[in-house]
């Protein structure tokens, strides 16, 4: 069923970029925050500022509960996954350190690591197979080669859909005294998470993808005791006399006025996912497999990532041997009102791993609100466009 605010005749398959339409409870929470709780949270103690502060407390508590984080103080709200990854990487790594990183990372990891490499961090890449899967043994071998400060990897690929065994990576990293830093942009929401059990030292997620919140807010989880240096200093309403940034969480990582409407929306999304996440994920899995299997039948079309029998996040990317990806995306949009994303998906490493650097791919990202009719419509359209 479509939510209010949607453009009725669009079949939206760009959930891996951002989920849309947002659940009505998210829209309502944003409006409520702007209308009834528009003060500056943490700054003042008058009614309208307190209302904003309480919204943030509620969201932090509900996001922590959704993600399996026992202490909500370990959740920091950041402007997005990219911002959180920059904080985790630059806050934990220093010149002379070595990191081991997977070969399918998004530019949100690859570019900060490129900058850190220029500053003297050694970056060693562990090759995934062409479907994007990394063998834990390869991580183990890489970590054993030289002292390692951190293993960095995504939970799931935004191009290939492959899910990494991050729990195994955590054990390997910890055995070697290294951190595990996880880019959870495509994991959070689409995979059921218990971060306390998973073992990641830092787990970063976009609020606006599988977590179904608004754009402009992300989640940074730092395990207790993980002492990442903050990237920004500034006001937060606490300890104002002190010239140094407070070290208490979450204030340490939240300098400046937060995105209260976005955080309120994310809190509402977290409550929705806590209540209905299993059903939402089951639908996503079913529709992903349906689409995947049908696309495999289209002559000349290569489907990237693991085979349908293997678990993947709800992303299916394809390359046609004759028709360019941008052509396919344009025709799907203009002739069929189907929204997909063509190109490199900000993930040139993943495309290099899959052997699609030259062509890019067309990505179908499934998520909340996509129906079986949408998938049937996409399959019919793809048969025609690829004929």
């Amino acid at each position: 069923m479509r939510e209010a605010g949607s453009v009725e005749d669009i079949s939206y398959f760009d959930h891996a970029a951002t989920s849309w339409p947002k659940p009505q409870v998210v829209v309502d929470a944003v409006v409520h925050a702007l209308t009834d709780a528009g003060g500056n949270p943490g700054r003042s103690a008058h009614a309208i500022a307190l209302a904003a502060s309480r919204l943030i407390l509620e969201s932090r508590t509900d996001v922590a509960s959704l993600l399996g984080v026992p202490n909500a103080r370990d959740i920091a709200f950041v402007p997005g996954c990219t911002a959180g990854l920059n904080l985790a990487l630059k806050g934990l790594l220093k010149p002379g350190d070595r990191v081991v990183v997977g070969s399918t990372e998004h530019n949100a990891v690859a570019r900060p690591l490129h900058a850190l490499a220029a500053a003297g961090v050694r970056v060693d890449v562990v090759q995934a197979d062409s479907a994007g899967r990394i063998d834990p043994y390869d991580i183990e071998r890489a970590v054993a080669e030289a002292p390692t400060r951190a293993v960095v990897c995504q939970h799931a690929s935004n191009v290939l859909g492959a899910i990494q065994p991050v729990g195994d990576f955590a054990d390997i990293a910890h055995e070697a005294g290294a951190y595990l830093i996880v880019d959870g942009a495509q994991g959070a929401g689409h995979l059921k998470l218990n971060l306390a059990a998973l073992g990641a030292d830092a787990y970063v997620a976009s609020g606006h993808k599988g977590l179904l919140g608004p754009q402009g807010v992300g989640v940074l989880y730092l395990a207790p005791g993980v002492d990442a240096v903050e990237l920004m200093q500034g006001g937060g309403g606490s300890s104002s006399e002190d010239p140094v940034q407070p070290t208490a969480r979450p204030d340490r990582y939240e300098a400046g006025t937060p995105n209260t409407p976005g955080i309120a929306g994310l809190g509402a999304a977290a409550r929705l996912l806590s209540a209905e996440g299993d059903a939402i994920r089951a639908t996503e899995r079913r529709l992903t497999r349906m689409l995947h299997e049908a696309l495999l039948e289209i002559p000349g079309l290569r489907v990237l990532g693991p085979p349908p029998a293997e678990e993947r996040v709800p992303v299916v990317s394809v390359v046609h041997e004759r028709v360019d990806g941008d052509r396919i995306a344009f025709e799907l949009d203009s002739r069929y009102r189907i929204a997909v994303r063509a190109g490199l998906h900000c993930a040139p490493w993943a495309h290099a791993t899959a052997g699609t650097s030259g062509s890019g791919a067309v990505r179908f990202g499934i998520g909340y609100g996509v129906t079986e009719e949408d998938v049937e419509r996409a399959i019919r359209a793809m048969r025609e466009v690829c004929a």
Binding site: G42, A45, L57, R73, E241, P246, A248, P250
Partner: protein
Amino acid sequence: MIEVAPFIVYGFATTHDALVGERTLLAADITHMTIPTPKSLGALCGIALRVPEASAHDAELALTAARCGWTVRVQMQDRVL
């Protein structure tokens, strides 16, 4: 003569802690007010919790059980106008 009952003000390091404290006192049905942190409490977050002295013991038990540690505890009195 006007009697002015003393009260206890609890100051917290972060807004998060102060509001977890507020939530805890609400749940435990302990009379309290959420107030701007008095300057005299020092470098803290902007929100403090004010509890009548007679309820302070119960408040502290509840806050401790909720692992919501206050940073500063001060006894105060309202000014008489």
